[in-house]
Symmetry: C2
Subunit: 183 residues, 2 copies
């Protein structure tokens, strides 16, 4: 059965927080198995992510400060889908802002739910190739603290397997993309 | 630099929601790059996940209703780390509750951040082998709506690549675990 086809019955809806990128709701629900209760979740418009691969086969990543984990993670460029944007438009904007590249070839890799225990966010992943450097990259969010990192696949896999701060969406997207660019 | 080593300066802390499994906070922070503002996030004690592999090389998964995505996802058994539990203890409890197996061999696969844009949750992944069925599996949470599914690796990878509702933590953990059980 496709996702979205079994909505719970909404008994009461409470918006607890309205944010710039997502909301936080507490809802009283009756689930398909008839259990009733309050469930909390982040309502998120979705995230779009690119796996940029250079002509030399290197991955273009970000080393980004994340206050939630009090440190710097290794992530593929990604961003929140804005109103009136498709995920493809989002990631074409974000890849220029975050890593300073434009991609001439895009391949959709599908989508997956990120943290379904408490968020409705889906990640839309894309393979980005035929890269060209942007002369004057547009400014990203002022509060972002990001460095650009180039890595071989071997280096990136070593970081994943050693647990060196690669997040779930980047690990999952990398392995979904790998058959498309590895020989 | 290891994670957790660059805490932001906390200017003001507000607990907006205290839940059974996680809290939601809005904090005024000064980040290492000196930008100041309000950031929101879920404070989560962590999740523990098992990749159970049978003697026949089949994966044991759950098909679980998730209200946030209004449908059923394919996930490895997992659960929230409770107070006074280690992630290893959590997953030994959850694997019996969710799929009715006890594992006699455990291998830690490390951890990764799940949704660092708005959550401090880390997933602690374990490979679980030498499985034996539990005669009277303990009751799980009453509101859970879970079926147990056995799959070959080929079937599970097909579900991942076709985008058939496998979540990020299950995709990421599977590929981290794969070198340990595939020949």
């Amino acid at each position: 059965m496709p996702l979205g086809n079994e909505p719970p019955q909404l008994l009461k809806q409470r918006l607890l927080f309205r944010g710039r990128k997502f909301n936080f709701e507490i809802n009283s629900l009756r689930l398909p198995n008839k259990s009733e209760g309050d469930w909390e979740c982040i309502r998120h418009p979705g995230g779009a992510l690119a796996i940029p691969v250079t002509a030399e086969g290197k991955l273009v990543l970000t080393r980004q400060y994340r206050f939630a984990v009090q440190g710097r993670l290794l992530e593929f460029p990604a961003g929140t889908v804005e109103p009136n944007e498709t995920p493809a438009q989002t990631i074409q904007r974000e890849i220029e802002e975050e890593v300073g590249y434009r991609a001439n070839t895009w391949q959709s890799l599908g989508n997956f739910p990120l943290a379904p225990g408490y968020s409705d966010e889906f990640i839309y992943a894309f393979l980005a190739t035929n890269l060209e450097a942007v002369d004057n990259p547009p400014e990203g969010d002022v509060d972002e603290d990001i460095d650009v990192v180039h890595m071989t696949c071997e280096e990136f896999e070593r970081a994943i397997f050693k647990g060196e701060g690669v997040d779930a969406k980047s690990i999952a997207s990398y392995f979904i993309a790998k058959p498309y660019f590895s020989s």
